[in-house]
Amino acid sequence: MAHRLLVRRIWTLSAKDIRCLPASAAASSFSTSSLQSAATRASFLSPSRSLPCSLPHTSHREVSFNVQDHEDFTVRVIKSDLPVLVDFHAQWCGPCKILGPRLEKAIAKQKGRVTMAKVDIDDHTDLAIEYGVSAVPTVIAIRGGDVVDHFVGIKDDDELDSFVGKVIGQ
């Protein structure tokens, strides 16, 4: 698994450079550790980071988005500048319907310092299988392409605030 993730990350980063999508270097407001690690890896992989590829950094982000496919996940989660909480959920799962809105609320409080990706495990089974999801809801935190934390099941608002806080390094 770790190997697969690493391979995918390498592919992701090189793809990022080729396509010139918003790069981590263009952003300014995240924790230094994630910025640094992303930059180090990128420079190791590609010397061409100075290509003119900075798109304007938008300050208004939606709190959450639905992952469309594997590539979308790569672009918007793995190589996201911001830490991302990935909410693996299913339509048939009752607790997911409670957790989702709570999590969105906790993330909205952070005013753009973290974002949330929603993955329907029936539509994107391979992603869920790859990330070791066994039960839903499962929430994983990804920072700089790495899984940094996770939980399974339901949590109350305070617990979610503290989980989100930890992920963004507060």
């Binding site: 048939w92 029936d122 299988i129 999801v133």
Partner: protein, 600 residues
């Protein structure tokens, strides 16, 4: 000879041993007096395989050989067996490899030639059980599963018929109907609630399908956790050990395996009359139908037909069942007719001795209106009827025609597509096995497929000899009044043993729960068939009443243990229950005695 303590000497010995291993198809390091070595050597002789033997007790530096073998293989004991340069182990390992077939594979030298040890075609109950068991036993396993959408476009997830369009949704919808009956009874017990009670199809359908969704996911996770490679693709043989997998986007991949298990299951049969595929549905569509089916015609008298017709009527729908000849072919006919009579009592209409000839659409919609034309099987009479939904349940066909079995020479019964196998689920092609509903002359039941699949994997990879026992399999038909049975039907028992050698005990009963509710008096019925030639052993068990599955399971165990009538009589009943009737049966069918029961 003293132990070697120089590196040069050791290396020289090692290359000498390695040369022996490399240059002999079978190399056995043995001791002439060791009984295990004798056994192994005898095995190779029996297999007519030339094996090179070095008797370590007869050569001068045997002890050094043994030390070096320990260093090379981690095994000090003899025999130490190598086949085609591969270390097999001692006597036990060799014998096990012989039993599970891997010895043959090693001998043929193609042990590395295949991508997988086992490829299972079909991700239903049987296929999943077999693949998981094989993976647990350390084998590299692939499962291919692909659901071809119905003509109406219905499709579903991993787990096969039982989970998606069979046992699970059927029993839950049957339960919906049972709750409806319970609500009617409830008023008699003093519960007061609004006179108008309605049922919401969409709520039921969504709840049932949500549960199925969680099961699909659970199966997927179990495959991952057991390291079974799952591929959602249609599989077709192109060579004896090679299949082509085609996924839903049409992408093709090739895979090879040493062995294959066919577990493709069955799908509903259509009638082959105008309008059947265009306008009718089958059980594959019913459980996820987006709208309430409304006035329904069920065509067929299979257990699927009676169960579906039964629960639809239980939801309050107008249901008609069109029957060509008899109800529940293959089941005890006395019981089948009693179950049918109970359905008729509860407002289900039966059109007997009719077959449909065409189905036309009068009006599209959800549901629309359909006109069904049918003709009598006995006269020239033609009848017409109007329904919202027509459900075809006239039987199921094995999915064995599009798997490329003809290419590799697997024998298939041309009449029904079923696959004949020996008592170890092996087809006429030795490396291809089959389990589940596609087997000729075997039960079409999920637990049977699971058992067969598990035991097959253990025989193939664990040296087990246990075979699946297809005798005395308990089962239940979830008609409105449920019918549970185990062993032989009265019809079959009479055929096998002759009426004179059987004693049939029977009784009607009125469940206590029904008395206050005042319903279904003398509808419930129990019957056991005993073999007079064998100590009155119970060879057939039949129960028509509530909770038939729960009642029948235990008696199934008793029959596995060889229960006799005397033992049933010696068992204390649990009062007040339905199942206790089997501990007090005194009236024989041949006596013609009264079977209506009084009070306690």
């Amino acid at each position: 000879m003293p132990p070697i303590d120089t590196d040069t000497g050791k290396n020289e010995l090692k290359s000498r041993i390695q040369l022996l291993i490399d240059s002999n198809q079978v190399m056995v390091f043995s001791k002439s007096y060791c009984p295990y070595c004798v056994k192994v050597k005898a095995l190779f002789k029996e297999l007519d395989v030339e094996c090179n033997v070095v008797e370590l007790d007869l050569i001068e530096d045997g002890t050094n050989y043994q030390e070096m073998l320990l260093e090379m293989t981690g095994q000090k004991s003899v025999p130490n067996v190598f086949i085609n340069k591969k270390h097999v182990g001692g006597c036990d390992k060799t014998m096990q490899a012989h039993e599970d077939g891997s010895l043959k594979q090693l001998l043929s030298g193609d042990n590395k030639a295949y991508e997988y040890d086992l490829i299972v075609i079909g991700g239903g109950s049987g296929g999943l059980a077999c693949s998981k068991e094989a993976a647990v036993l350390g084998k590299k396993v692939m499962v291919l599963d692909y659901v071809v959408p119905t003509p109406k476009g219905t499709t579903w997830g991993l787990g096969g018929t039982c989970v998606n369009v069979g046992c699970i949704p059927k029993k839950l919808m049957h339960q919906t109907a049972v709750l409806g009956t319970a609500m009617q009874d409830a008023r008699k017990f003093g519960w007061e609630f609004s006179e108008t009670v309605t049922h919401n199809w969409d709520t039921m359908k969504t709840a049932v399908n949500n549960y199925i969704g969680s099961l699909n996911w659970g199966y997927r996770v179990a495959l991952r956790d057991k390291d079974v490679n799952y591929v959602n693709a249609h599989a077709e043989f192109i060579e004896p050990h090679k299949i082509k997998a085609t996924n839903k986007r049409g992408k093709e991949t090739l895979h090879t395996a040493a062995r294959f298990v066919l577990a493709t299951g069955e799908r509903p049969r259509y009638l082959g009359i105008p309008g059947d595929k265009e306008y009718c549905i089958t059980s594959d569509d019913l459980f996820s139908l987006p709208h309430c089916p409304g006035k329904t015609l069920v065509i067929g008298a299979s257990y699927v037909a009676l169960e579906c017709g039964g629960f639809l009527a239980g939801l309050g729908l107008d249901v008609t069942i069109m029957v060509r000849s008899i109800l529940l072919r293959g089941f005890d006919q006395d019981m089948a007719n009693r179950a049918g009579e109970h359905m008729e009592d509860h407002g289900i209409k039966f059109l007997r001795q009719y077959v449909p000839v065409k189905v036309e659409e009068l009006e599209a919609g959800s549901p629309g209106r359909l006109k069904v034309t049918a003709k009598s099987t006995e006269t020239d009479e033609v009848i017409e009827g109007e329904y919202n939904t027509v459900l075809i349940a006239v039987g199921r066909d094995a999915c064995t025609d599009k798997v490329g079995l003809d290419k590799i020479g697997v024998k298939v019964n041309p009449k029904n597509g079923k696959i004949p196998v020996n008592d170890e689920e092996q087809t006429n092609v030795p490396h291809v096995y089959a389990i589940g509903d596609i087997l000729e002359g075997k039960w079409e039941l999920t637990p049977v497929a699971i058992q067969a699949g598990k035991l097959l994997a253990r025989r193939l990879y664990k040296g087990s000899t246990l075979k699946c026992d297809y005798v005395n399999v308990p089962t239940t038909v979830f008609t409105p009044l449920e019918y549970g049975s185990c062993g032989l039907s009265e019809d079959r028992a009479t055929e096998l043993y002759g009426q004179d050698n059987l004693e049939v005990y029977h009784s009607q009963f009125w469940p206590l729960e029904f008395t206050v509710a005042g319903r279904d008096n003398n509808r419930c019925y129990g019957k056991i068939i005993c073999n007079k030639l064998d100590n009155d052993r119970v060879i057939g068990f039949h129960y028509l009443g509530p909770n038939a599955g729960e009642v029948t399971q235990g008696f199934g165990i008793a029959m596995k243990c060889g229960a006799t009538k005397e033992q049933l009589d010696g068992t204390i009943g649990i009062h007040p229950t339905c199942a206790e009737i089997f501990t007090t049966m005194e009236v024989t069918k041949s006596s013609g005695g009264d079977i209506n029961l009084g009070g306690c």
